[in-house]
Amino acid sequence: MIHVRRLALAVAVPFLVGAGPYDIPLFSTPKAPAASGSARLVFAQSPFGIAVTADGHAQYDVQVTATALPAPSSLGAYSVYVAWAATPDLQRWERLGTITNGTTTVGHVALDKFLLVITAEANAAPKQRSGPTVLHGTSPSGWLQSFLNHPMFRGITG
């Protein structure tokens, strides 16, 4: 199973590298199988050209482009789609804003690595995620690899 995952990573990485350090492919879920999308990170406006928090986290706006999202109400008692940024351990969720089909800019997000998750929700400002996920992706920084874990060196560099 581990080897299968690594193979999948090896296939996925070149595609993502081609997309550059700002692009997030979004993947649909069984809740909305026809939906598709992508997102692009753009530095939030700053007099320095790049936006950085005082402790050094890059601060991005997220341009979410979605197509074929069904009406939220078709999935249940929902009225909007909300974009969230979640830490990889899923312990911290930040609401970025509502999105629709087409391109919507939400943000800011200032996490080093994060998951971008689109859920259907009952209102535009829920305190926490509760509705079904329709699209999801990983920030490019999430693909940062550990030298120590790479098969080429695993078991050698210890």
Binding site: F48, V52, D55, G56, L144, L148, T157
Partner: protein, 563 residues
Amino acid sequence: MSARYLLLAVSLGIPFAAAFPQQRDSMPGMDHMAGMKHGAPGMPIPMPKGMPMIPGLVGLVPPGGTFLPGAGLDPQQLPAAKPTEVVRLNEGDTLDLTAALVRRTIKGHDFAMYGFNGQVPGPLIRVPQNATILVRFHNRIDLPSAVHWHGVRLDNHSDGAPGVTQEPVAPGASFTYRVHFPDAGLYWYHPHVREDVEQAMGLFGNMIVDSPLAGYYAPANSEHVMMLDDLLINGDTLVPFGGAGPNFALMGRVGNVLLVNGEPNYALHVKKGEVARFYLTNAASSRTYNLSFGGAPVKVVASDESRFEHEELVPSVVLAPAERYVVDVRFARPGRYAIVNAVQAINHYKGEFEPEVDTLGFVTVDASPPKADYGRAFATLRANSAVTREIDRFRPYFDKPPDKHLTLTVQVTGLPLATVQFMTIDTAYFAPVEWIDGMPDMNWLSTSAQVRWILRDDATGKENMDIDWHVARGSVVKLRIVNDPKSFHPMQHPIHLHGQRMLVVARDGIPTRNQVWKDTALIPVGSAVDLLIDASNPGNWMLHCHIAEHLGSGMMAVMHVDR
């Protein structure tokens, strides 16, 4: 070294050494290193904490020999570097500026380094706007040199760019510059020959050009110049520079001792409620800073060539190499405020981000108030209508198609196999800005003989000094620069254009909302940045990356502004 390391060294390093001209000899001046901060004894460069050298690189040294200032001289025989003196000059005045060896004592160790007029930083030249001065430069160091007046829109022949506007000034020789200051603001001067050595060793200084306008800046209780740079020290030894050309060619030399005005422990005393104005210059070879003042509110007022259209409160100040910012900081409460550079570094071994915080110094705020309370003025974010009016002339050009396209990329040949292997693996993600050198072993071993950083003109395919752009004087040129994220080692580049001023009108298609005139703009990895150049100053002007090692590895071109 563990058996595992040895195995990898054998499998990667030794066969490579036979195939490529990497040297395995001991490095001159590197045989007496003691007290190394990190890494194993005998390690030629300091490594990040907990990170060993890659086995395949152990024992290698960069090709091309080494260089350190004042080789063979006892630093004790050199004059001690002095603090910066303010030199106020007026129209027609002359300054003698001598580059020479000095002794600097940093963290208890004496080093032979360079200074202008015996000072590090060099004299702070303060002049009124529109003044013209003569500077008689005397080269008394052990390398050819020259002085570039960074950001100043002066006459071309005084730009100080050897190979373009003058010949290098040989050791012992002199050259006279006529420096005219048409724009108020904060500028700096530095050599344009082997910047990786000469600038890093202390040859830099600021110029403040004062506007005749009363209230040009909001009132402040005090003014302070901070020239930021860093120094790479291994124990009691400076890590040597490349002899034939720069080493650390991949990422540039990122020091492990952060300095303000040439010293490691900056200290400032102010009064409660004081508004302190800081003139900030990044004189480091490669490091981009993210500077904050212990939580005190920071208002950014101006940058390279002008004030901003409107002032903004910011959480921190990001400075790429060669950039300048003028910021006001209000220290409302008594206490001790740490000035820190805080970044999220990448640990390539773990594949994780890690916070890294360096304290540059402290501001001590005493309980007594200043003579004048400028708290209300500080709280007001001024709109500088004169700046906006001037930029309005250029606004019709903001959306025009680019006149020129440049792609930033790199070619490498002959790097150690282990470096190539690791960097090939590490291609899943490149940070838009690399704040630290996370792979100093690979970086150190890369030289300008192996790494060629490239500015590529998309229209002609020409690269670097083969680019032959001619634009008419008075034209407004839109230049789109794309930093290729797919190259062997994508990295941010602070791109500097000599002798002109420019606006960053858009980044990745997003228009800039608050304009300021610039001469240096940071181009992050994977970004497309649109620059609008006011090509008003005739002559032959360099366009280059201001990471000293990238410049020294070819990343430069010339734009001719025809009369």
